[in-house]
């Protein structure tokens, strides 16, 4: 307790330092003074905080020209992002239009985001200076992501299904071209790695990456990278600093929250803002459910007879102490196996954390080399994954085939001739 008190006493100086550190670690962070003013809901603090929240919530957009958006538009985007993340305070959504009001609400929103997860690290990771060569992050999420609404398509009038076939065909071509380009990229990468062998100062990397080589080729880009790296280092240092002293900020935020509720006690009259869950999300969930059900059914079908057979077989076996230790060992082994299997999607694993970047390193087979993932192993996993996905797809397709064959049977006088090969 004594320790805590000491900290609180020192808060008078520690708080501005903590806020300053936070500010420096954020992209375009405002001055600590803005935070102070926001506590008192001063209008002059609002624009800077809108801007900040906008940058924080739409990190990808920040690189592009979206920063030039009108304040109202920015506010709208901030609000919708907060809604989708489940921000609970309706005060933010109701009245504010991106003007000068409600700087305290904005401060609360920012703090909410900061408290929920490693926001700073995420932001830093997103804008990180990429020095190594990476494989594209193409987990299912990226390609299958819903993407922006199809604004280019005129969907005011009903269409022929042939249009969908046409678009799907386009998609198939794009997939294939993507693979071709990817192959070319790999060939070039591999060449660059080979030609720059032994050039990297870090022993374990051995060769240069594209970014590093480009830096050497073009002095301008060298300057830019160095600059970016230095500014990232500054932000990292600030983030570390923040981590060391953020406690005082949270204690202060308590007082902000208190000030807020004392200012507007009539919380009950506010209509509650329900998080909008898109139809798509629901549909997605429904699909997953069906898949899981099917899997459960399959498992039941294979497990039950085995259990029965096992029981029958084991019935005669003595249940001596040997058996029970063996059994226990087996059970534990299986538990461990299954636990590791579960870890990638366990609720405890943080979905917000971006995947760890992978730096591609060309290494000779024979040398023990640096530690890291081996491509061959990853390939093995991917192959298995590919095979299983293919199987799923084929199952779905044959399900469809059956369904349509049933329909075909219901149409007399017609002969359906499937594409050869089936």
């Amino acid at each position: 307790m004594g320790r805590r008190r000491r900290r609180v006493e020192g808060a008078a100086r520690a708080l501005p330092e903590a806020i300053a550190a936070l500010s420096r670690s954020l992209p375009a962070g405002p001055s600590p003074e803005i935070f102070r003013r926001a506590k008192f809901d001063r209008p002059e603090a609002a624009p800077a905080l809108w801007q900040l929240l906008f940058r924080v919530l739409t990190p990808l957009a920040a690189n592009n020209a979206v920063t030039d958006l009108a304040p109202e538009a920015q506010a709208r985007m901030v609000k919708s992002a907060l809604v989708s993340q489940g921000y609970p305070r309706s005060a933010l959504f109701q009245s504010l239009e991106g003007g000068s009001q409600g700087s305290r609400e904005l401060l609360l929103a920012l703090s909410w985001l900061l408290a929920r997860g490693p926001l700073l690290e995420q932001l830093l990771a997103q804008t990180r200076v990429q020095l190594g060569d990476e494989l594209p992050q193409c987990e299912g999420e990226t390609l299958a992501s819903p993407g922006p609404p199809a604004h280019r398509m005129e969907t005011e009038r009903p269409t022929d299904l042939r249009l969908v076939e046409w678009l799907m065909g386009k998609l198939r071509f794009r997939w294939r071209r993507l693979i071709s380009s990817q192959q070319e990229q790999c060939a070039l990468l591999s060449k660059i790695h080979l030609y720059t062998r032994g050039c990297h100062s870090q022993q374990r990397l051995g060769h240069l990456s594209v970014a590093e080589t480009e830096m050497l080729r073009d002095p301008e880009s060298s300057r830019q990278i160095l600059q970016a790296l230095e500014s990232e280092n500054n932000r990292l240092e600030a983030a570390l600093e923040w981590r060391r002293c953020e406690l005082v900020f949270w204690q202060w935020m308590d007082t902000v929250l208190d000030a807020c509720s004392s200012d507007s006690p009539a919380v009950t009259s506010q209509p509650t803002v329900l998080p909008v869950i898109s139809e798509r999300g629901l549909g997605e969930l429904e699909l997953v459910k069906q898949e899981l059900r099917a899997l459960q059914e399959e498992l039941r079908e294979v497990a039950e007879p085995r259990r029965a057979a096992w029981e029958a077989q084991v019935g005669g076996l003595g249940r001596g102490p040997d058996w029970s230790t063996t059994r226990k060992a087996l059970q534990e082994a299986v538990e461990r196996e299954l636990a590791t299997l579960q870890s990638p999607w366990e609720p405890s694993s943080n979905p917000a954390q971006p995947q760890r970047p992978l730096r591609l390193v060309r290494s000779k087979d024979e040398s023990p080399g640096p530690q890291g993932l081996k491509a061959a192993e990853v390939i093995g996993t991917l192959r298995a994954q590919e095979a299983s996905l293919k199987k799923v797809l084929h199952q779905l397709q044959s399900q469809c085939r059956q369904e349509l064959a049933r329909l075909a049977g219901a149409l007399p006088g017609l002969i359906w001739i499937m594409a050869p090969g089936h």
Binding site: D160, K170, F173, W175, R176, R177, S180, S181, E184, I417
Partner: protein
């Protein structure tokens, strides 16, 4: 990105030579009517696509030559060697002693499996010489045995082995009469197999090319070489470099991919026709001037009236007024006056190309009801002039242009099939009547699908 060409059979090898020669000649022609820099970039782009460098500095065509008898290949190699400007790779030929005898089944079921390994090895070696591979051109006729049968077989193997690379078959459609008697059988077998394994069939009709030679090029005694040169011009006008869209003033990296994505995504519609303007003999060219509006007006009318060249265009044909029901029932067996498109690609080359106005091709009435011009039309261009024409335009069209010839071929083959004539020549090599029926079924559907596009 590079394209590997596979030349098959007599026709494929003769045409392949003319194509490479035309590409090379054009890209090294000094009068491209553009700056030296641009010319160099154009040259480099053409070279990356179609040629590779060999030690002694002579460019080598990215091509594999396949024939089942040696005469044509020897002839082709020596012609390329004599030109001295480019050549074929030393080890890029495969030939045997005995041809397929106009028998599709022999090419497909005997030569194909027997030589699969050697041919695929050759192709693989050529592929390995590309930094990046966009896809394959497979040049073949569909009337004979080697080009058609072996061509269909090899295309299928390419599909199996290089599933993500693109495959475009350049198909020489035989004269309506007088080349090979079993050409209709060979054709339906080829087309139906390619419909399953190829991405696009770029079709050149001998009859049309012949007419161009006679009427536009003013050639009195037309030889196969004349035909092949016109054909090579057509292909060159499509696949020589053009600017890419996203990075302005860079040359397009992957024309094959761009073309396919625009024109042939639908599995039932894979047949492409090419139209060119202007086409004329060098003598007439000296006295001619061209304007973009004039060229494009003609090209558009060629498209909608289904004309094969800029002579004898039916100017009465107009796009249907959208919204009005068509007059009477249209059928492919009757004369289709208006040629409905699914998708078109216009390629403009030459002076003042930025002033050319292609709005006429964006009229929704030109296209089938389910595809809007945004999806259905695209344009490539370059300021660099092509093959002695100060301005020229090419059109690659996925439209009803080829339904009639296809319908004819299917009809004739069906008549023959109904009398069982020549079937024994095919069953001798392991084919069954069922295989013919499969081919007929598939192609009848293609005819019907194209027929139902409108208007």
């Amino acid at each position: 990105m590079s394209i590997v060409t596979v030349q098959l059979g007599q026709c494929g090898n003769q045409i392949g030579f003319e194509v490479f020669d035309a590409l090379f000649r054009d890209s090294h022609c000094s009068q491209g009517l553009c700056s030296k820099r641009e010319n160099e970039a154009y040259q480099a782009s053409c070279k990356e696509r179609f040629f590779r460098e060999e030690e002694n500095g002579v460019p080598v065509a990215r091509a594999v030559l396949v024939d089942m008898e040696p005469k044509v290949i020897n002839q082709t190699l020596s012609k390329a060697g004599q030109s001295g400007r480019w050549k074929y790779g030393q080890h890029s030929c495969f030939c045997q002693k005995q041809g397929s005898g106009n028998n599709w089944a022999y090419g497909y079921s005997v030569h194909g499996p027997k030589h699969e390994e050697s041919i695929m090895n050759l192709i693989q070696k050529e592929v390995e010489k590309c930094d990046s591979l966009s896809g394959f051109f497979i040049i073949m006729s569909m009337a004979g045995g080697t080009g058609s049968g072996l061509g269909a077989f090899i295309t299928q193997k390419l599909q199996d082995q290089y599933s993500s690379s693109l495959k475009m078959n350049q198909i020489i459609w035989p004269y309506g009469t007088g080349e090979v008697i079993v050409q209709n059988y060979n054709s339906i077998l080829t087309l139906s197999h390619l419909y399953r394994s190829s991405d696009a069939l770029l079709i050149h009709e001998n009859d049309a090319v012949h007419k161009i030679c006679a009427k536009r090029m003013n050639i009195k005694q037309i030889s196969f070489r004349d035909l092949n040169q016109v054909l090579a011009h057509q292909l060159g006008s499509v696949f020589q470099p053009t600017y890419s869209e996203d990075v302005s003033f860079h040359y397009r990296r992957d024309p094959l991919g761009d073309l396919m994505e625009h024109l042939v995504p639908h599995p039932e519609f894979k047949m492409l026709g090419v139209r060119n303007i202007p086409q004329m003999s060098e003598n007439s060219l000296a006295y001619s001037t061209f304007t973009w509006p004039g060229l494009l007006k003609h090209l558009r009318q060629m498209l909608i009236s289904g004309a094969k060249m800029e002579e004898g265009i039916d100017w009465q044909v107009r796009p249907p007024f959208s919204g009005l029901p068509p007059l009477g029932k249209m059928s492919v067996h009757k004369d289709l006056h208006f040629n409905t498109s699914i998708a078109n690609l216009v390629i403009l080359r030459g002076k003042d190309v930025q002033t050319a106005d292609v709005e006429g091709f964006k009229d929704p009435a030109l296209y089938t009801s389910w595809l809007e011009p945004v999806h259905a039309f695209s344009m490539w261009k370059t300021q660099r002039a092509f093959d002695k024409y100060e301005k020229s335009a090419a059109l690659v069209s996925n439209s009803q242009l080829l339904v009639k010839p296809l319908d004819m071929i299917v009809g004739k083959a069906w008549n023959m099939f109904a009398s069982k004539a020549y079937i024994h020549q095919y069953t001798k090599f392991g084919m069954e009547e069922e295989d013919f029926l499969d081919s007929f079924t598939l192609l009848e559907q293609v005819v019907a699908s194209y027929g139902s596009l409108g208007p």
